[in-house]
Symmetry: C2
Subunit: 211 residues, 2 copies
DNA sequence: TGACACATACCGACTGTATGGTATGTTTGC
DNA sequence: GCAAACATACCATACAGTCGGTATGTGTCA
Protein backbone atom coordinates (compact mmCIF):
# COMPACT_ATOMS: atom_id res chain seq x y z
CA UNK A 1 0.00 0.00 0.00
CA UNK A 2 2.26 2.81 -1.22
CA UNK A 3 1.37 5.91 0.74
CA UNK A 4 1.21 9.09 -1.29
CA UNK A 5 4.45 10.80 -0.32
CA UNK A 6 6.00 14.17 -0.71
CA UNK A 7 7.09 14.69 -4.27
CA UNK A 8 4.29 12.33 -5.23
CA UNK A 9 3.14 13.01 -8.78
CA UNK A 10 -0.46 12.33 -7.75
CA UNK A 11 -0.56 15.25 -5.39
CA UNK A 12 -3.72 17.27 -5.98
CA UNK A 13 -5.63 14.32 -7.33
CA UNK A 14 -7.06 13.06 -4.05
CA UNK A 15 -10.46 14.54 -4.71
CA UNK A 16 -10.74 12.90 -8.10
CA UNK A 17 -9.49 9.57 -6.82
CA UNK A 18 -12.10 9.68 -4.07
CA UNK A 19 -14.86 10.40 -6.57
CA UNK A 20 -13.74 7.56 -8.81
CA UNK A 21 -13.60 5.22 -5.85
CA UNK A 22 -17.06 6.36 -4.78
CA UNK A 23 -18.42 5.62 -8.25
CA UNK A 24 -17.24 2.03 -8.02
CA UNK A 25 -17.87 1.25 -4.38
CA UNK A 26 -21.30 2.86 -4.05
CA UNK A 27 -22.50 1.02 -7.14
CA UNK A 28 -21.32 -2.17 -5.48
CA UNK A 29 -22.60 -1.73 -1.93
CA UNK A 30 -24.87 1.28 -1.96
CA UNK A 31 -24.29 4.63 -0.30
CA UNK A 32 -25.14 3.82 3.32
CA UNK A 33 -23.02 0.67 3.37
CA UNK A 34 -20.02 2.52 1.97
CA UNK A 35 -17.87 3.92 4.76
CA UNK A 36 -15.55 6.89 4.57
CA UNK A 37 -12.70 4.54 5.48
CA UNK A 38 -13.61 2.27 2.56
CA UNK A 39 -13.35 5.19 0.20
CA UNK A 40 -10.09 6.42 1.69
CA UNK A 41 -8.55 2.99 1.41
CA UNK A 42 -9.69 2.51 -2.18
CA UNK A 43 -8.52 5.98 -3.20
CA UNK A 44 -5.33 5.57 -1.18
CA UNK A 45 -5.82 8.79 0.74
CA UNK A 46 -6.18 9.54 4.42
CA UNK A 47 -9.20 10.69 6.31
CA UNK A 48 -7.70 14.12 6.59
CA UNK A 49 -7.66 14.38 2.82
CA UNK A 50 -11.25 13.20 2.61
CA UNK A 51 -12.58 15.84 4.95
CA UNK A 52 -10.36 18.45 3.41
CA UNK A 53 -12.18 17.99 0.11
CA UNK A 54 -15.65 17.11 1.38
CA UNK A 55 -17.43 18.64 4.34
CA UNK A 56 -19.27 15.41 5.10
CA UNK A 57 -20.10 12.00 3.70
CA UNK A 58 -23.32 13.45 2.31
CA UNK A 59 -21.35 16.17 0.55
CA UNK A 60 -19.29 13.46 -1.12
CA UNK A 61 -22.55 11.85 -2.22
CA UNK A 62 -23.62 15.06 -3.91
CA UNK A 63 -20.21 15.50 -5.52
CA UNK A 64 -20.22 11.89 -6.68
CA UNK A 65 -23.59 12.39 -8.37
CA UNK A 66 -22.31 15.53 -10.06
CA UNK A 67 -19.11 13.80 -11.08
CA UNK A 68 -21.22 10.98 -12.51
CA UNK A 69 -23.27 13.50 -14.50
CA UNK A 70 -20.11 15.06 -15.90
CA UNK A 71 -18.54 11.73 -16.82
CA UNK A 72 -21.65 10.25 -18.41
CA UNK A 73 -22.39 13.43 -20.35
CA UNK A 74 -18.93 13.33 -21.89
CA UNK A 75 -19.21 9.61 -22.53
CA UNK A 76 -22.57 9.77 -24.28
CA UNK A 77 -21.60 12.87 -26.22
CA UNK A 78 -18.69 10.95 -27.69
CA UNK A 79 -20.73 7.81 -28.41
CA UNK A 80 -21.44 6.75 -31.99
CA UNK A 81 -25.23 6.66 -31.73
CA UNK A 82 -25.37 10.30 -32.81
CA UNK A 83 -24.09 9.42 -36.29
CA UNK A 84 -27.28 8.55 -38.21
CA UNK A 85 -28.83 11.42 -40.14
CA UNK A 86 -32.38 10.45 -39.23
CA UNK A 87 -33.44 11.43 -35.69
CA UNK A 88 -35.46 8.24 -35.14
CA UNK A 89 -32.45 6.21 -36.19
CA UNK A 90 -30.44 8.05 -33.56
CA UNK A 91 -32.96 7.24 -30.87
CA UNK A 92 -32.99 3.57 -31.83
CA UNK A 93 -29.20 3.60 -31.99
CA UNK A 94 -29.17 4.98 -28.46
CA UNK A 95 -31.30 2.08 -27.25
CA UNK A 96 -29.03 -0.39 -29.03
CA UNK A 97 -26.00 1.33 -27.52
CA UNK A 98 -27.43 1.11 -24.03
CA UNK A 99 -28.15 -2.56 -24.60
CA UNK A 100 -24.60 -3.19 -25.80
CA UNK A 101 -23.27 -1.45 -22.69
CA UNK A 102 -24.74 -4.14 -20.47
CA UNK A 103 -21.69 -6.36 -20.04
CA UNK A 104 -19.25 -7.26 -17.31
CA UNK A 105 -19.89 -7.00 -13.60
CA UNK A 106 -23.17 -5.62 -12.34
CA UNK A 107 -21.43 -2.67 -10.69
CA UNK A 108 -19.74 -1.80 -13.98
CA UNK A 109 -22.84 -1.19 -16.07
CA UNK A 110 -25.44 -0.15 -13.51
CA UNK A 111 -26.22 3.44 -12.65
CA UNK A 112 -24.72 5.25 -9.68
CA UNK A 113 -27.39 7.92 -9.42
CA UNK A 114 -30.28 5.48 -9.82
CA UNK A 115 -28.88 3.39 -7.00
CA UNK A 116 -28.27 6.38 -4.77
CA UNK A 117 -31.63 8.02 -5.46
CA UNK A 118 -33.43 4.84 -4.51
CA UNK A 119 -31.57 4.71 -1.22
CA UNK A 120 -31.41 8.30 0.01
CA UNK A 121 -34.42 9.96 -1.61
CA UNK A 122 -35.96 10.54 1.81
CA UNK A 123 -32.96 10.93 4.08
CA UNK A 124 -30.77 13.20 1.97
CA UNK A 125 -32.57 15.71 -0.25
CA UNK A 126 -29.29 17.15 -1.54
CA UNK A 127 -28.11 13.85 -2.90
CA UNK A 128 -31.56 13.07 -4.27
CA UNK A 129 -31.65 16.34 -6.18
CA UNK A 130 -28.17 15.83 -7.61
CA UNK A 131 -29.22 12.34 -8.75
CA UNK A 132 -32.38 13.76 -10.27
CA UNK A 133 -30.43 16.35 -12.21
CA UNK A 134 -28.17 13.64 -13.60
CA UNK A 135 -30.96 11.30 -14.65
CA UNK A 136 -33.35 13.87 -16.07
CA UNK A 137 -30.55 15.88 -17.62
CA UNK A 138 -29.48 12.79 -19.49
CA UNK A 139 -33.06 11.93 -20.43
CA UNK A 140 -33.46 15.39 -21.90
CA UNK A 141 -30.61 14.80 -24.35
CA UNK A 142 -32.94 12.46 -26.27
CA UNK A 143 -35.92 14.74 -26.30
CA UNK A 144 -34.99 16.81 -29.34
CA UNK A 145 -34.44 13.74 -31.51
CA UNK A 146 -37.70 12.19 -30.36
CA UNK A 147 -39.61 15.37 -31.08
CA UNK A 148 -37.93 15.78 -34.47
CA UNK A 149 -38.79 12.20 -35.36
CA UNK A 150 -42.34 12.71 -34.21
CA UNK A 151 -42.82 15.78 -36.35
CA UNK A 152 -40.80 14.54 -39.30
CA UNK A 153 -42.97 11.44 -39.53
CA UNK A 154 -46.19 13.19 -38.63
CA UNK A 155 -46.86 10.90 -35.71
CA UNK A 156 -50.00 11.64 -33.78
CA UNK A 157 -50.18 9.71 -30.57
CA UNK A 158 -51.31 10.44 -27.07
CA UNK A 159 -47.74 10.91 -25.76
CA UNK A 160 -45.05 13.55 -25.59
CA UNK A 161 -41.35 13.53 -26.40
CA UNK A 162 -40.31 14.38 -22.85
CA UNK A 163 -42.53 11.68 -21.41
CA UNK A 164 -41.00 9.11 -23.74
CA UNK A 165 -37.48 10.30 -22.95
CA UNK A 166 -38.19 9.68 -19.26
CA UNK A 167 -39.78 6.31 -19.98
CA UNK A 168 -36.63 5.21 -21.77
CA UNK A 169 -34.64 5.93 -18.63
CA UNK A 170 -37.25 4.19 -16.49
CA UNK A 171 -36.93 1.01 -18.56
CA UNK A 172 -33.15 1.15 -18.21
CA UNK A 173 -33.31 1.68 -14.45
CA UNK A 174 -35.95 -1.00 -14.02
CA UNK A 175 -33.82 -3.41 -16.01
CA UNK A 176 -30.97 -2.79 -13.60
CA UNK A 177 -33.17 -3.55 -10.62
CA UNK A 178 -34.35 -6.85 -12.12
CA UNK A 179 -30.84 -7.74 -13.21
CA UNK A 180 -29.60 -7.29 -9.67
CA UNK A 181 -32.50 -9.24 -8.20
CA UNK A 182 -31.92 -12.10 -10.64
CA UNK A 183 -28.15 -11.73 -10.62
CA UNK A 184 -28.40 -11.89 -14.39
CA UNK A 185 -27.67 -8.99 -16.77
CA UNK A 186 -29.86 -10.63 -19.40
CA UNK A 187 -32.90 -9.19 -17.60
CA UNK A 188 -31.70 -5.70 -18.41
CA UNK A 189 -30.98 -6.58 -22.05
CA UNK A 190 -34.46 -8.02 -22.49
CA UNK A 191 -35.94 -4.75 -21.37
CA UNK A 192 -34.01 -2.89 -24.06
CA UNK A 193 -35.47 -5.19 -26.69
CA UNK A 194 -38.98 -4.41 -25.53
CA UNK A 195 -38.10 -0.74 -25.55
CA UNK A 196 -36.79 -0.96 -29.10
CA UNK A 197 -39.99 -2.70 -30.16
CA UNK A 198 -42.16 -0.11 -28.42
CA UNK A 199 -40.43 2.82 -30.06
CA UNK A 200 -40.63 1.21 -33.49
CA UNK A 201 -44.33 0.63 -32.98
CA UNK A 202 -44.86 4.23 -31.90
CA UNK A 203 -43.24 5.35 -35.14
CA UNK A 204 -44.78 2.62 -37.30
CA UNK A 205 -41.47 1.19 -38.48
CA UNK A 206 -40.76 -2.48 -39.11
CA UNK A 207 -39.13 -4.49 -36.39
CA UNK A 208 -35.67 -5.55 -37.43
CA UNK A 209 -34.03 -8.82 -36.54
CA UNK A 210 -32.41 -8.11 -33.18
CA UNK A 211 -28.77 -7.19 -33.53
CA UNK B 1 -44.07 5.57 24.47
CA UNK B 2 -46.13 2.81 26.07
CA UNK B 3 -43.82 -0.10 26.67
CA UNK B 4 -45.31 -3.49 25.91
CA UNK B 5 -46.06 -4.80 29.33
CA UNK B 6 -46.82 -8.08 30.88
CA UNK B 7 -50.41 -9.05 30.22
CA UNK B 8 -50.05 -7.20 26.94
CA UNK B 9 -52.58 -8.53 24.44
CA UNK B 10 -50.00 -8.24 21.65
CA UNK B 11 -47.70 -10.79 23.18
CA UNK B 12 -46.62 -13.27 20.58
CA UNK B 13 -46.91 -10.77 17.77
CA UNK B 14 -43.44 -9.25 18.09
CA UNK B 15 -42.14 -11.01 15.00
CA UNK B 16 -45.00 -9.77 12.86
CA UNK B 17 -44.77 -6.26 14.22
CA UNK B 18 -41.05 -6.23 13.42
CA UNK B 19 -41.71 -7.38 9.88
CA UNK B 20 -44.37 -4.73 9.39
CA UNK B 21 -42.05 -2.08 10.78
CA UNK B 22 -39.28 -3.31 8.48
CA UNK B 23 -41.60 -3.04 5.49
CA UNK B 24 -42.24 0.62 6.23
CA UNK B 25 -38.85 1.75 7.46
CA UNK B 26 -36.69 -0.02 4.88
CA UNK B 27 -38.82 1.40 2.07
CA UNK B 28 -38.20 4.82 3.59
CA UNK B 29 -34.47 4.69 4.33
CA UNK B 30 -33.14 1.56 2.70
CA UNK B 31 -31.84 -1.56 4.41
CA UNK B 32 -28.36 -0.43 5.44
CA UNK B 33 -29.59 2.84 6.93
CA UNK B 34 -32.23 1.03 8.97
CA UNK B 35 -30.89 0.07 12.38
CA UNK B 36 -32.06 -2.75 14.59
CA UNK B 37 -32.90 -0.16 17.23
CA UNK B 38 -35.06 1.74 14.75
CA UNK B 39 -37.03 -1.41 14.07
CA UNK B 40 -37.36 -2.27 17.74
CA UNK B 41 -38.61 1.20 18.56
CA UNK B 42 -41.11 1.24 15.71
CA UNK B 43 -42.39 -2.23 16.55
CA UNK B 44 -42.33 -1.42 20.23
CA UNK B 45 -40.26 -4.44 21.16
CA UNK B 46 -36.88 -4.84 22.81
CA UNK B 47 -33.63 -5.97 21.30
CA UNK B 48 -33.99 -9.27 23.09
CA UNK B 49 -37.22 -9.91 21.23
CA UNK B 50 -35.59 -8.96 17.94
CA UNK B 51 -32.74 -11.43 18.29
CA UNK B 52 -35.06 -14.03 19.68
CA UNK B 53 -36.94 -14.03 16.38
CA UNK B 54 -34.11 -13.24 13.97
CA UNK B 55 -30.58 -14.55 14.13
CA UNK B 56 -29.17 -11.37 12.60
CA UNK B 57 -30.14 -8.20 10.83
CA UNK B 58 -29.58 -9.99 7.53
CA UNK B 59 -31.93 -12.75 8.60
CA UNK B 60 -34.58 -10.12 9.21
CA UNK B 61 -33.94 -8.83 5.70
CA UNK B 62 -34.63 -12.26 4.26
CA UNK B 63 -37.74 -12.66 6.40
CA UNK B 64 -38.95 -9.19 5.42
CA UNK B 65 -38.63 -10.07 1.74
CA UNK B 66 -40.55 -13.31 2.31
CA UNK B 67 -43.17 -11.50 4.33
CA UNK B 68 -43.49 -8.99 1.51
CA UNK B 69 -43.97 -11.81 -0.97
CA UNK B 70 -46.70 -13.32 1.18
CA UNK B 71 -48.49 -10.03 1.71
CA UNK B 72 -48.35 -8.92 -1.91
CA UNK B 73 -49.44 -12.33 -3.18
CA UNK B 74 -52.54 -12.18 -1.00
CA UNK B 75 -53.16 -8.56 -1.95
CA UNK B 76 -52.94 -9.13 -5.69
CA UNK B 77 -54.91 -12.35 -5.54
CA UNK B 78 -57.77 -10.43 -3.98
CA UNK B 79 -57.52 -7.51 -6.41
CA UNK B 80 -60.30 -6.88 -8.94
CA UNK B 81 -58.13 -6.99 -12.06
CA UNK B 82 -58.77 -10.71 -12.34
CA UNK B 83 -62.45 -10.15 -13.09
CA UNK B 84 -62.52 -9.69 -16.90
CA UNK B 85 -63.22 -12.84 -18.89
CA UNK B 86 -60.65 -11.98 -21.56
CA UNK B 87 -57.02 -12.64 -20.57
CA UNK B 88 -55.72 -9.56 -22.36
CA UNK B 89 -58.29 -7.46 -20.54
CA UNK B 90 -56.97 -8.89 -17.30
CA UNK B 91 -53.41 -7.94 -18.16
CA UNK B 92 -54.43 -4.40 -19.07
CA UNK B 93 -56.53 -4.22 -15.92
CA UNK B 94 -53.43 -5.22 -13.96
CA UNK B 95 -51.48 -2.34 -15.46
CA UNK B 96 -54.32 0.06 -14.69
CA UNK B 97 -54.47 -1.30 -11.17
CA UNK B 98 -50.76 -0.78 -10.65
CA UNK B 99 -51.10 2.74 -11.93
CA UNK B 100 -53.98 3.46 -9.57
CA UNK B 101 -51.90 2.14 -6.67
CA UNK B 102 -49.40 4.96 -7.10
CA UNK B 103 -50.74 7.39 -4.51
CA UNK B 104 -49.69 8.73 -1.13
CA UNK B 105 -46.19 8.82 0.21
CA UNK B 106 -43.32 7.40 -1.80
CA UNK B 107 -42.63 4.75 0.82
CA UNK B 108 -46.24 3.61 0.71
CA UNK B 109 -46.42 2.60 -2.93
CA UNK B 110 -42.83 1.71 -3.75
CA UNK B 111 -41.47 -1.82 -3.62
CA UNK B 112 -39.60 -3.21 -0.64
CA UNK B 113 -37.85 -5.99 -2.51
CA UNK B 114 -36.86 -3.78 -5.43
CA UNK B 115 -35.28 -1.33 -3.04
CA UNK B 116 -33.49 -4.02 -1.08
CA UNK B 117 -32.27 -5.92 -4.12
CA UNK B 118 -30.72 -2.77 -5.52
CA UNK B 119 -28.86 -2.19 -2.27
CA UNK B 120 -27.68 -5.59 -1.11
CA UNK B 121 -27.39 -7.61 -4.32
CA UNK B 122 -23.67 -7.91 -3.85
CA UNK B 123 -23.22 -7.89 -0.11
CA UNK B 124 -26.02 -10.22 0.94
CA UNK B 125 -26.85 -13.06 -1.46
CA UNK B 126 -29.54 -14.43 0.85
CA UNK B 127 -31.54 -11.22 0.81
CA UNK B 128 -30.97 -10.81 -2.92
CA UNK B 129 -32.37 -14.26 -3.61
CA UNK B 130 -35.41 -13.69 -1.42
CA UNK B 131 -36.05 -10.42 -3.25
CA UNK B 132 -35.65 -12.18 -6.58
CA UNK B 133 -38.17 -14.84 -5.61
CA UNK B 134 -40.68 -12.17 -4.68
CA UNK B 135 -40.28 -10.12 -7.84
CA UNK B 136 -40.13 -12.96 -10.33
CA UNK B 137 -42.77 -14.96 -8.49
CA UNK B 138 -45.10 -12.02 -8.87
CA UNK B 139 -44.12 -11.49 -12.50
CA UNK B 140 -44.98 -15.11 -13.20
CA UNK B 141 -48.56 -14.60 -12.07
CA UNK B 142 -49.16 -12.63 -15.28
CA UNK B 143 -47.51 -15.08 -17.59
CA UNK B 144 -50.47 -17.40 -18.11
CA UNK B 145 -52.79 -14.55 -19.07
CA UNK B 146 -50.23 -13.08 -21.44
CA UNK B 147 -49.67 -16.43 -23.08
CA UNK B 148 -53.42 -17.11 -23.33
CA UNK B 149 -53.96 -13.70 -24.91
CA UNK B 150 -51.11 -14.30 -27.31
CA UNK B 151 -52.50 -17.61 -28.47
CA UNK B 152 -56.14 -16.56 -28.36
CA UNK B 153 -55.43 -13.65 -30.65
CA UNK B 154 -52.90 -15.48 -32.78
CA UNK B 155 -50.19 -12.94 -32.11
CA UNK B 156 -46.88 -13.68 -33.75
CA UNK B 157 -44.15 -11.41 -32.48
CA UNK B 158 -40.54 -11.85 -31.60
CA UNK B 159 -41.22 -11.94 -27.86
CA UNK B 160 -42.31 -14.37 -25.18
CA UNK B 161 -44.89 -14.21 -22.43
CA UNK B 162 -42.35 -14.62 -19.66
CA UNK B 163 -40.13 -11.91 -21.10
CA UNK B 164 -43.07 -9.51 -21.24
CA UNK B 165 -44.10 -10.41 -17.71
CA UNK B 166 -40.62 -9.44 -16.52
CA UNK B 167 -40.64 -6.28 -18.60
CA UNK B 168 -43.86 -5.16 -16.93
CA UNK B 169 -42.14 -5.43 -13.57
CA UNK B 170 -39.09 -3.63 -14.90
CA UNK B 171 -41.19 -0.67 -16.01
CA UNK B 172 -42.83 -0.56 -12.60
CA UNK B 173 -39.50 -0.69 -10.77
CA UNK B 174 -37.93 1.86 -13.09
CA UNK B 175 -40.87 4.17 -12.55
CA UNK B 176 -40.24 3.98 -8.82
CA UNK B 177 -36.60 4.92 -9.27
CA UNK B 178 -37.47 7.95 -11.38
CA UNK B 179 -40.28 8.95 -9.04
CA UNK B 180 -37.86 8.94 -6.13
CA UNK B 181 -35.22 10.86 -8.08
CA UNK B 182 -37.79 13.49 -9.11
CA UNK B 183 -39.67 13.35 -5.84
CA UNK B 184 -42.79 13.09 -7.98
CA UNK B 185 -45.01 10.00 -8.26
CA UNK B 186 -46.25 11.20 -11.63
CA UNK B 187 -43.07 9.78 -13.17
CA UNK B 188 -44.17 6.32 -12.18
CA UNK B 189 -47.70 6.83 -13.48
CA UNK B 190 -46.39 8.01 -16.85
CA UNK B 191 -44.47 4.78 -17.18
CA UNK B 192 -47.64 2.78 -16.71
CA UNK B 193 -49.29 4.68 -19.53
CA UNK B 194 -46.45 3.83 -21.88
CA UNK B 195 -46.68 0.24 -20.73
CA UNK B 196 -50.41 0.15 -21.42
CA UNK B 197 -49.80 1.56 -24.89
CA UNK B 198 -47.02 -0.95 -25.59
CA UNK B 199 -49.14 -3.93 -24.62
CA UNK B 200 -52.08 -2.72 -26.70
CA UNK B 201 -49.77 -2.30 -29.67
CA UNK B 202 -48.35 -5.79 -29.19
CA UNK B 203 -51.90 -7.15 -29.32
CA UNK B 204 -53.12 -4.77 -32.03
CA UNK B 205 -55.91 -3.28 -29.95
CA UNK B 206 -57.02 0.35 -30.04
CA UNK B 207 -55.68 2.72 -27.50
CA UNK B 208 -58.43 3.86 -25.16
CA UNK B 209 -58.70 7.30 -23.66
CA UNK B 210 -56.62 7.04 -20.52
CA UNK B 211 -58.70 6.35 -17.44
C1' DT C 1 16.78 36.82 -6.26
C1' DG C 2 15.30 35.67 -2.13
C1' DA C 3 12.73 36.17 2.08
C1' DC C 4 8.34 36.29 3.95
C1' DA C 5 3.27 35.73 4.12
C1' DC C 6 -0.25 33.05 3.00
C1' DA C 7 -2.99 29.33 0.93
C1' DT C 8 -3.83 24.72 -0.46
C1' DA C 9 -3.25 19.84 0.10
C1' DC C 10 -2.66 16.54 2.85
C1' DC C 11 -1.48 13.44 7.30
C1' DG C 12 -2.89 10.38 11.13
C1' DA C 13 -4.02 9.96 15.90
C1' DC C 14 -7.98 10.69 18.54
C1' DT C 15 -13.10 10.92 20.17
C1' DG C 16 -17.92 10.33 21.18
C1' DT C 17 -21.43 7.80 19.90
C1' DA C 18 -24.18 4.43 17.42
C1' DT C 19 -24.58 -0.21 16.17
C1' DG C 20 -25.01 -5.23 15.79
C1' DG C 21 -24.89 -8.67 18.77
C1' DT C 22 -24.70 -11.33 23.52
C1' DA C 23 -25.51 -13.00 28.18
C1' DT C 24 -28.57 -13.55 31.52
C1' DG C 25 -32.64 -12.91 33.56
C1' DT C 26 -38.12 -12.96 33.86
C1' DT C 27 -42.77 -13.81 32.37
C1' DT C 28 -46.39 -16.58 30.14
C1' DG C 29 -48.97 -20.42 28.12
C1' DC C 30 -49.59 -25.08 28.03
C1' DG D 1 -42.28 -27.42 35.10
C1' DC D 2 -40.70 -26.65 30.67
C1' DA D 3 -40.06 -24.23 26.50
C1' DA D 4 -41.11 -20.30 24.02
C1' DA D 5 -41.46 -15.33 24.25
C1' DC D 6 -39.90 -11.80 25.72
C1' DA D 7 -36.92 -7.98 28.78
C1' DT D 8 -32.54 -5.57 30.39
C1' DA D 9 -27.95 -4.68 30.88
C1' DC D 10 -23.97 -4.93 28.71
C1' DC D 11 -19.97 -5.32 25.17
C1' DA D 12 -16.66 -4.77 21.32
C1' DT D 13 -16.30 -2.54 17.42
C1' DA D 14 -16.96 0.52 13.65
C1' DC D 15 -18.25 4.76 12.34
C1' DA D 16 -18.34 9.84 10.95
C1' DG D 17 -16.13 13.56 12.11
C1' DT D 18 -12.16 16.57 14.59
C1' DC D 19 -7.88 18.60 15.31
C1' DG D 20 -3.18 19.95 15.50
C1' DG D 21 0.24 19.48 12.58
C1' DT D 22 3.38 19.28 8.10
C1' DA D 23 4.64 19.69 3.27
C1' DT D 24 4.34 22.24 -0.97
C1' DG D 25 3.16 25.81 -3.99
C1' DT D 26 2.36 31.08 -5.02
C1' DG D 27 2.18 35.79 -4.89
C1' DT D 28 4.69 40.01 -3.38
C1' DC D 29 7.93 43.34 -2.53
C1' DA D 30 12.47 44.96 -1.50
Amino acid sequence: MPRATKQSPERGSARLRLLDAATDIIRDRGFAATTVDDLCKAADVTKGAFFHHFASKDALGVAAAEHWATMTTAFFNAAPYHDPADPLERVLAYVAFRKAMITGNMAEFTCLVGTMAQEVYESSPDIREACGRSIFGHAATLEADIEAARQGRAITGNWTADSLSRHIQAVIQGGFVLAKAANDPECAREGMEHLDRYIRQLFHVREEVAA
